[in-house]
Point group: C2
Chain length 412, copies 2
């Protein structure tokens, strides 16, 4: 099936915001065993949108469009679609009704501007929006089906989930079997990963590819054919033999999600002491529903006083070794565990930069410590890159320590 995506908005081209909608459409297609062959990004100009729609409709069987269905005057997608395919805009009763219902249900007053969102090309079939005001719609132009969705990410995702599977089923029936699986690797570089698996023969019809999502390397396994799933399973097993514990997540899982699930299952409790990561680990874990079942608390202890008050780090350690030291990391973890009586504590202290580095402890120097009834560890790392990259690598490494501790703990 030949599929393309199109996202509309000046803000995506001038760099005001990063586009997450192409990725959301890609994931929704992937779940259905499909993939887009290309993605386009275009400005809020009726002429460009219209020309791009015509071009994509002549080249592809399905075009997913996101954005430009809002209530303000720079939302031009419906108008551009009408122009591209020579259809008048008409006030669509079904769409208008769904907008009114949305406002009633949210007990909000409807702004007259929102009526504009029901002005659709004459032959458009509206698609209900479960999460917002802008209805989507479908247009058929010769052999191409165009699906128009709003650009607000939460609305787009809700609409993709409810409309895409039945529409693709209706139009194309059974789709050619193919699939992909992503293994997420932490602690190895891209060339290092490739060299570790290159001696591994791949089953027929299976190909591999690499990607980087700092600090992770993504290893992508692909297979086509009726038994693609079986062949991917087989390949995953052989990759796990070579890469072992460096594989920290698969598919849409994240390291944080896996650690959160393991924590929940373990019945153990956790407290965090973060200095240079400033709450990043806590924020990641609490982004996942159910964190309260295992997370007791987290301390972002920027000042020495805070490290002393809440974590019991002695003034002597802070004075003699400094806040960025193995001694301090160790004292943060053990002090927090004593204070909170949680089962596991993790501490992170380091120099994220851009300033604050010294010859002995350059920017990127980070100490991580873990304390539990049956384990006390601390280690120094040197991470490269920007402040954000140092913070991310530190937070991921702390989660990785927790993951490995929980694996060991389960084995006992």
């Amino acid at each position: 099936m030949r599929i393309a995506t199109l996202v509309v908005g000046d803000e995506l081209l001038n760099g005001e915001i990063s586009d997450t909608n192409t990725a959301a459409m890609g994931r929704a297609l992937g779940k259905l065993g499909c993939r887009a062959l290309e993605g386009r990004t275009i400005a809020d100009s009726e002429e460009s949108i219209s020309a791009t729609l015509q071009e994509l409709a002549s080249r592809y069987q399905v075009v997913l469009v996101a954005g430009g269905l809002g209530p303000t005057r720079d939302d031009l997608t419906a108008r551009a679609a009408g122009r591209a395919f020579e259809q008048r805009l008409v006030l669509n009763d079904e769409a208008l009704e769904s907008i009114r219902t949305f406002f009633q249900e949210q007990r909000l007053e409807m702004d007259p501007r929102n009526e504009k969102q029901a002005l659709l090309p004459q032959k458009a079939i509206p698609l209900a929006n479960p999460a917002g005001t802008a209805p989507g719609f479908v247009l058929t132009q010769n052999s191409c089906r165009l699906l128009f969705f709003p650009g607000v990410p939460a609305e787009l995702e809700a609409m993709l989930e409810c409309h895409l599977p039945p529409l693709l089923d209706e139009w194309f029936g059974d789709r050619p079997p193919m699939g992909e699986r992503v293994l997420k690797i932490f602690g190895l570089s891209e060339p290092k990963t490739e060299s570790m698996i290159e001696s591994q023969p791949l089953p027929e019809g299976v190909t591999i590819a690499f990607g980087v999502d700092h600090p992770f390397v993504h290893l992508k396994l692909r297979a086509a054919g009726d038994d693609w799933e079986e062949r991917l399973d087989q390949t995953e097993v052989s990759m796990r033999k070579k890469l072992g514990d460096f594989i920290v997540a698969r598919e849409r899982e994240t390291l944080a999600q896996n650690v959160a699930a393991m924590m929940k299952q373990s019945g153990l409790t956790l407290a965090l002491a973060e200095s240079c990561t400033g709450g990043m680990v806590a924020e990641w874990l609490t982004a996942i529903p159910g964190a309260s079942t295992y997370l007791d608390r987290a301390a972002v202890t920027y000042s020495n006083q805070a490290k002393n008050d809440w974590l019991g780090v002695s003034k002597r350690i802070l004075h003699e070794h400094g806040a960025v030291s193995e001694f301090c990391a160790r004292a943060m973890a053990t002090g927090l565990r004593q204070a909170t009586r949680t089962d596991i504590t993790l501490a992170i202290t380091g120099i994220a930069g851009p300033d604050g580095g010294t010859e002995d402890k350059p920017v990127g120097t980070v100490f991580i410590a873990l304390s539990a009834g049956d384990a006390e560890q601390a280690k120094r790392y040197t991470f490269g890159g920007t402040r954000d990259q140092v913070r991310r690598a530190s937070a991921c490494m702390a989660l990785e320590w927790l993951r490995r501790y929980l694996i060991e703990h389960q084995r006992r």
Copy 2:
């Protein structure tokens, strides 16, 4: 100037990661008074990359390409460029030397795979990469200049910064004057913002547009002509008259950056108590260098015990009113201030969902409190949307309270 961007990578089309490179290129162009007319995203296929390069080279004067210059075998951009423009690949001495130097400087061993990154089309002019191994390059094809950059975001940004301004200057000299300014609005919906400014006449040649970056509304002012800057200044003044304190940031500033700058300037100290936001406010503030000058600490108090230990919230309040209550929020802020002797404390407690809501306190119910020597406030909010949206709206609202407090404090 007709400019397009192209990003290469399966992972961008299948939704594994969201593309930030189109936005980075857009910002780099914007700084030079230019904008891309379209953006393309294409898979790691030599054939598609080659065909897209040919098509873009025939339509545009400048094409910025990011991605596919890495060391592994699915990095195909240089090969595809050679194929598109009928140039052999040769080992480029200058590029090879710069890769070797990079590894030496980082005291890392060079993997033989990295040599491949110096295989460039015959007529390519290499561009040094200050932040990584993959050199970029320039190709000229008829009247189009194509610039190839690596896809790792930090490397791309470093290369755009050092190479793009001198190259565009060299090729095109003075560029037609035009500019855009973004005002970021918090606390008003998109239609509400539009209705508040619609009576405001715009100077000639100035246009406005809207965008949403939840929970913010972006108001974009645009002007062309020699005096575009002056006309944007004038428009900004009149928009500020109408929208006043709802404008929380402009251009690339964020609310968190502005609050951080105000905190630094005030000489005051801050401590945070976060429950449902799980450290989001602390993470945002500490992402900005210099947070240690004003941020004493943050407590992510998920358990009641933590609220009692660190914030001094009484068991009576937790029992009688619950952890999600105005009483609790107020007690968190005042207790933290007493414990830490900081000048200002902020507390956030709420139900981010998807579970945990009740009839009285549905999902999205959030209480925010601020405590300072001259102010004690607490308030209930109901935010809509997903867990992530509720958390973001709560964190932004807490920062907005701090911003408004600091404005008041300055005026005194």
